[in-house]
């Protein structure tokens, strides 16, 4: 048997994670429902005034997306850790950081992409304008991969711990702040009819930075957690 090449290993890992997620559909749906529910709570809790909702809408949607992403992070390594396949990954001859990209990509496809699909619905609920809606989708497309990439570092650090969940939010949420700020203000300024290219460039820069640095940090964290 010849060992798999790196692209083969990458696609096998990706397909495996997607298949596993497909077999456990309820786990996929929960963060999505959470996203919709949290957003729906704000009009009930604050006020149903359309003008106010339109103003705070981008922030609400983004905070809800952040929390939904945090909720789903545990699943990145949890089951692999429990059944021992994570250790097999560590023993693989391929660079761990590249394999981490496959895992994070799978996680984003399972949890980030669905957020993008339901986001227009929430935009309608919160009375966003057409322009703002478009910007919202672009920011989600650029921002949610950053959340998955940065979150993966946090999960890798806490994977072996019994009470990892509460610590995870303390580790990851402060690091999410820049994404939240740039994305929410991009949507808000497009709603006000202003230019948003500066915000989008910054988000893209964050994404590039996260793609280049976070897999290495995730791999190093995993090796430490599993040692």
């Amino acid at each position: 048997m010849t060992p798999a090449t790196l692209p083969q290993a990458f696609s096998t890992l990706l397909r495996r994670d997607l298949t596993l997620a497909y077999r456990r559909r309820s786990e996929m749906i929960n963060p999505l429902l959470f996203f919709v529910l949290v957003t729906a709570l704000f009009p009930l809790g604050i006020s149903a005034d359309p003008a106010l909702l339109r103003e705070i809408g981008p922030g609400i949607i983004w905070v809800a997306a952040l929390l939904a992403s945090l909720l789903s992070l545990e699943t990145v390594f949890r089951s692999d850790f429990d059944d021992g396949s994570l250790e097999q990954l560590l023993l693989s001859p391929h660079p761990l950081s590249v394999l981490m990209i496959a895992k994070v990509l799978a996680h984003w496809l399972i949890t980030g992409l669905p957020l993008l699909i339901v986001a227009p619905l929430l935009g309608v609920l919160l009375n966003l304008s057409g322009d703002a809606m478009q910007t919202l989708l672009i920011t989600l497309a650029l921002g949610t991969p950053v959340l998955s990439l940065v979150g993966a570092i946090g999960v890798a650090l806490t994977v072996g711990l019994r009470k990892g969940g509460t610590i995870l939010s303390l580790l990851v949420l402060p690091l999410y702040v820049p994404v939240l700020i740039f994305a929410a203000s991009a949507v808000a300024s497009s709603d006000a009819g202003l230019q948003v290219s500066a915000h989008l460039s910054l988000l893209t820069a964050l994404l590039i930075l996260a793609i280049s640095l976070s897999p290495a940090a995730t791999a190093a964290s995993l090796r430490i957690s599993m040692s």
């Binding site: 940065v150 570092i153 650090l157 806490t158 072996g160 711990l161 009470k163 990892g164 610590i167 303390l170 580790l171 949420l173 402060p174 690091l175 702040v177 820049p178 700020i181 740039f182 203000s185 808000a188 300024s189 910054l202 964050l206 930075l209 640095l213 940090a217 190093a220 964290s221 430490i224 957690s225 040692s227």
Partner: protein, 246 residues
Amino acid sequence: MLRFFHKLASPKHFYRISGKWIPWLGVACLGFMLAGLYQGLLVAPTDYQQGDSYRIMFVHVPAAWMSLFIYMVMAIAGVIGLVWRIKLAEIMAISSAHIGASFTFLALITGSIWGKPMWGSWWVWDARLTSELILLFLYLGVIALYNAIDDRRTAARATSILALVGVVNIPIIHYSVEWWNTLHQGPTVTKFDAPSIDFRMLIPLLLMAVAFKLFYAVVVLLRARVEVLQRERNTSWVKELVAENE
């Protein structure tokens, strides 16, 4: 010189040498602090705009400086620990975390006490305040992670990685909150920036800054000594030390 550092990196010699340094550093710290407080509270003139309440700055500004400085120390020590596996660097990194968190908290509290009479509110979502608050959360995350992992060495290496990720993020967070604020609420109220400060106010400020650095040095050494003893409790030199002191 190199041999000196090499020796210092061994826990046993660190314990011996730091024991000699601490009293001197402590005396120097006390001297600078008394001089700084005297200059700051009695000699420095009253501010034409803020009256006497600006004097909290002599605690607040050095504390804010320390909060960033200690984070850098922690991250650098963490890298040294990760790359060269030097136990002492790991110990220094984690001992710094608690002190850094305390200084950050002190900067936030004194800022809040100053802000109440000046700005009329305990808290404003100003860029500086917000980034300092997030820095506090980063420190707390490091401490929480360290406490959650049972094995001390694994914990130290995990927190080093987290501290490093934080270092990459601190400038990003800093600029993001700065732009976020200026974009939405017009010019901020922060007046710390302008170094158009009276010379008689600058002197006590610098004295206090040195005093805080020395204070940090003393406390970090004390904490590191305790950590060294705990980690090395099964080695012969610690047992001898305990036997001597009984």
